[in-house]
């Protein structure tokens, strides 16, 4: 649990509860995404796990270390990215900034130099030839790469990334995503926050949706959509007996908003099904053989993570894994 004192005017104060009983776990090699609207408490949670903020109550462990009583041990195993647009000395180069950080972390001069070069190569800044340019000349994409290089400098087993692709161009965001997936494949645990649902759906292996300081839904992206019972959009074009075909389907799975359009000799059937992908396909194939219709086209649109997110955040759904 974490509360803040918010000042309103000269004397008036208000207590803002940023987190209220958040509970989740992420294992090695997993990319766990924290989703939620602005002010949901995602960054506060990352800062608590990074030992930058102290929780008011509750316990949190990283690699088995308590983030309050064993903060030093936690700092040894984590790499943190918070706000990719700043966090470095503007007048120092990317290389010098990382050297400074490496020395703060206890590296000797020669080890710091070697490791700094390694991580700059890993994120592509060395090959771009910009490592010796002052930080203030960096584009947002370069700054994001440098932030990730800093997080990787101590070769951490846990990465805490707060919106690492915020404001990046397509190419840089793609590079960062690829890097995150590769790092997870190496066995690192990645905790990531973000608002780009397409991106999170691509890389996350599990998700927790936070709203109002609480976890309101969690699980793998596919599980989450299933448990929320979201509708799949199905469009089928058949030759002959379209209405009977639709009637057969509706006896097996729950469908809604069904529309049949006659297009010459072909009927286009559009409906929304509340069932998983496999059941929908199975039912459609059985119905086809029973009514002896011929399918000429089949389009199956799965609900996106964005649909699931909107359903949870605005619809008051709860999909907590029991």
């Amino acid at each position: 649990m974490k509360s803040y004192v918010s000042r309103e005017g000269f004397k008036k104060k208000r207590i803002v509860e940023a987190l209220r009983g958040v509970s989740f776990s992420a294992s090695s090699g997993e990319i766990h995404a924290l989703l939620g609207p602005n002010g949901a408490g995602k960054t506060t949670l990352i800062k608590i796990l990074a030992t930058l903020l102290l929780p008011d109550s509750g316990v949190a462990y990283v690699e088995g270390y308590n983030v309050v009583s064993q903060a030093g041990d936690v700092r040894r195993v984590i790499g943190v990215v918070l706000d990719v647009s700043k966090g470095f000395y503007t007048s120092l180069t990317g290389f010098e900034n990382l050297m400074f950080y490496a020395m703060l972390k206890g590296y000797t001069y020669s080890d710091a130099k070697r490791r700094t070069r390694e991580v700059l190569e890993l994120v592509g800044l060395w090959d771009m030839g910009v490592h010796n340019r002052p930080y203030y000349t960096y584009s947002l994409g370069m700054r994001a790469r440098l932030s990730i290089a800093k997080a990787l400098l101590t070769d951490p087993s846990v990465l805490l990334l707060d919106e690492p692709t915020l404001g990046l161009d397509v190419e840089s965001a793609k590079m960062v995503r690829r890097l995150i997936v590769d790092l997870a494949k190496e066995g690192r645990t990645v905790l990531i926050t973000g608002h780009n649902m397409f991106e999170i759906e691509q890389i996350a292996t599990s998700i927790s949706i936070i709203n109002g300081g609480k976890v309101v839904a969690s699980g793998a992206p596919q599980d989450l959509k299933q448990r929320l019972g979201l509708l799949h959009k199905v469009v089928i074009r058949v030759e002959g007996r379209a209405r009977e075909f639709l009637s057969r389907i509706s006896k097996t799975i729950e469908i809604s908003s069904a529309v049949v359009e006659e297009l010459g000799g072909v009927s286009r059937i559009t409906f929304y099904a509340k069932a998983n992908r496999e059941d929908v396909i199975q039912t459609v194939l059985e119905a086809l053989s029973l009514v002896s219709a011929k399918m000429v086209d089949f389009v199956f649109e799965e609900p996106t993570l964005e649909d699931a997110y909107i359903a949870v955040v605005s619809g008051g759904h709860s999909a907590e894994r029991s």
């Binding site: 102290l54 943190v80 966090g87 400074f100």
Partner: protein, 272 residues
């Protein structure tokens, strides 16, 4: 502690390379000032009159070389006070308010440790860099003895700068973490001349208003000035022992206060 010290030394030399032109300006301006103190009045009246007047003001027998040495040494303290007070405060401010480098520091070490080491090491490194111009000039004026004078002056200035770095931190920490002030230079640009004027750097101490003298007395700078007179006039080193005692007292006091303030600031930062 050694890790933080290594990192700060590395960063300081990286900055020195980047801001070499700033240091060159810091060498040229005091030279002009010290030349002006002696040669401007000399050109208006006569060198003999200037030497006589300076001797009366400082209460010591002097020749033209001594007058110039005193003027030169005083540019040293002007540079050290200006650079230490403003740089320590403004850099800390920029680190934690603008660049948010504080996160990187908090990830690696304890805040109070960083603040104190920074307050001690930065002035120690910056002082020789901003007063390097004195070495060849004192050597030229007073020969090998001038070089010895430079080493003694440098030691006095370095010790003073450590106390000033801690003193500056005492202002900087509450300013950064407990106020909404967003222009720290407004404070440093008032504090620096007040300390220098109050210590009798620009005009004899007897002519300085009491309030400025009180401001200067919160620092060891008045004693540093007395120690510099002693070195320049090759007088009895009694003033040096007084300077040492006051400096030690100030430094210990500043470490205690700035350490306490930094710890409180860390608690505030980590509690959000």
């Amino acid at each position: 502690m050694l890790n933080v010290a290594k990192a700060i030394v590395y960063r300081e030399f990286a900055w020195f390379k980047r801001f070499l032109s700033d240091y060159v300006v810091l060498w040229i301006l005091p030279l002009l000032f010290s030349l002006g103190v002696v040669f401007l009045p000399a050109s208006l009246s006569s060198p003999t009159a200037v030497v006589k007047n300076m001797g009366m003001l400082y209460g010591i027998e002097m020749d033209l070389k001594t007058a110039y040495s005193i003027a030169l040494m005083f540019t040293g303290i002007i540079n050290v006070v200006a650079v230490t007070i403003s740089d320590v405060m403004q850099t800390l401010f920029a680190e934690f308010r603008f660049m948010e480098v504080g996160i990187m520091i908090l990830e690696a070490t304890r805040f109070a440790k960083y603040i104190i080491i920074n307050a001690v090491l930065r002035p120690l490194i910056m002082t020789p860099l901003v007063t390097a111009y004195m070495a060849p000039l004192l050597l030229y004026l007073n020969g090998v003895e001038g070089l010895l004078e430079f080493l003694i002056v440098e030691a006095i200035l370095m010790l003073t700068s450590v106390a000033l770095g801690l003193y500056s931190t005492i202002f900087a920490v509450p300013l950064i973490f407990h106020t909404n002030v967003s222009r720290p230079w407004t404070i440093t640009s008032v504090l620096t001349p007040a300390i220098l004027a109050g210590a009798g750097t620009y005009i004899p101490i007897e002519l300085v208003p009491q309030v400025l003298r009180l401001v200067a007395l919160t620092t060891p700078v008045p004693e540093t000035c007395k120690a510099l007179y002693t070195v320049a006039s090759k007088g009895f080193p009694q003033a040096l022992s007084t300077f040492g005692a006051i400096l030690t007292f100030s430094t210990v006091l500043y470490i205690a206060v700035s350490g306490l303030l930094s710890k409180r600031a860390e608690v505030k930062v980590r509690r959000g």
